[in-house]
């Protein structure tokens, strides 16, 4: 289980709900269900960090 990737979903969910989770999925191409089975690789983590920053920036205003 990719705990770190799932954690990204929990963070964005707490901050922006379903809309944030959907945008994160759109940017990473990985849904929360898929994240559970994905590897916590450096590449995946970097991709999620970048996408999370973008979603937070978009939904900030």
């Amino acid at each position: 289980m990719a705990a770190q990737l799932v954690n990204f979903y929990e963070r964005i969910g707490q901050a922006h709900g379903a809309l944030g989770r959907m945008k994160l999925a759109m940017l990473t191409n990985v849904s929360s269900a898929q994240a559970k089975n994905a590897a916590d690789s450096q590449e995946n983590i970097q991709k999620f960090e970048k996408a999370l920053a973008q979603v937070l920036s978009e939904l900030k205003g």
């Binding site: 989770r21 999925a25 759109m26 849904s31 898929q34």
Partner: protein
């Protein structure tokens, strides 16, 4: 390779293939034109020249007979003697010129024999003419000397014409064969290039259509929100692969929405249960 690049390369390949084909056909056409020119300038031209010499030789004999027949009149004697000598020189010059032109060894040898025979004949004609004058237009004495003398050169020149005719026919047959072979090469080249262009075009189109087909299946399932077990697997680095990557994002977003909707429904159901 990107589809745009693939299509550009294919298009460039088609242009190159047809340029090669056009150049090949033009070169072949020029070669055939040169070969036909050579045929017209050599064997056919020599054949025509030989027929001219043949006719001129018959005219020479005719002038000799006119000289004997009408030489009792001094004006006619001068006239026909001049015509005879003119024709005699002309035949000799033409035969020697033809001998220089002809490349076929057999025809050349026959021409050489004719030129020698014609030289001998000249001497005989001079002897007969002298007898004719000394006999006071005695054509019988002159004819006795010349009787049958022109037969051998006539036969020799007929043989020259026959040989050149054979050479011409052989050359025409060879040319026809070369043209036929050239046509076959042109057809094979054109066919081969068309096959290659068609084959590679077919492969490219088949690949694009197959990938678009897979993408359409994914799109149809996303349109129905049927994401269960859906895998968007588009390998490569072309436009379709990029489109597939976008579809993966849409797939993930729809899946996420469905998860959120499912969670919301469960929460609502739980709320109703508590009421």
């Amino acid at each position: 390779m990107r589809i745009s690049k693939k299509l550009s390369v294919f298009f460039a390949g088609v242009i190159v293939a047809f340029s090669v084909l056009a150049v090949t056909l033009i070169m072949q056409l020029r070669t055939q034109a040169r070969q036909y020119d050579a045929l017209l300038n050599s064997p056919i031209h020599q054949m025509e020249e030989a027929r001219v010499v043949q006719v001129d030789f018959k005219k020479q004999v005719q002038e000799w007979k006119d000289t004997l027949l009408r030489g009792h009149n001094s004006d006619d004697l001068a006239n026909y003697t001049k015509k005879f000598h003119d024709m005699e020189s002309q035949v000799h010059t033409e035969a020697e010129a033809l001998q220089e032109q002809v490349t076929d060894p057999e025809a050349r040898q026959l021409l050489e024999k004719f030129v020698n025979a014609h030289t001998t004949l000249r001497q005989k004609y001079a002897e007969a003419y002298k007898a004719y004058l000394e006999g006071n237009a005695d054509f019988k004495a002159a004819d006795r000397i010349m009787r049958g003398a022109d037969r051998a050169p006539t036969d020799l020149f007929d043989a020259v014409v026959a040989r050149l005719n054979t050479v011409t026919k052989e050359s025409v047959a060879q040319q026809r064969q070369a043209t036929s072979k050239g046509s076959k090469v042109a057809i094979a080249t054109a066919g081969g290039l068309l096959f290659l262009v068609g084959f590679f075009g077919f492969l490219i189109v088949r690949d694009i259509l197959a990938r678009l087909g897979r993408l359409k299946q994914v799109s149809d399932r996303l349109a129905k929100a049927d994401v269960s077990g859906l895998v968007v697997d588009m390998q490569g680095s072309d436009e379709i692969a990029e489109f597939g990557k976008s579809m993966r994002g849409v797939h993930a977003a729809i899946e996420e929405l469905l998860i959120a909707a499912s969670a919301q429904s469960k929460a609502q159901a739980a709320g109703k249960g508590q009421l």
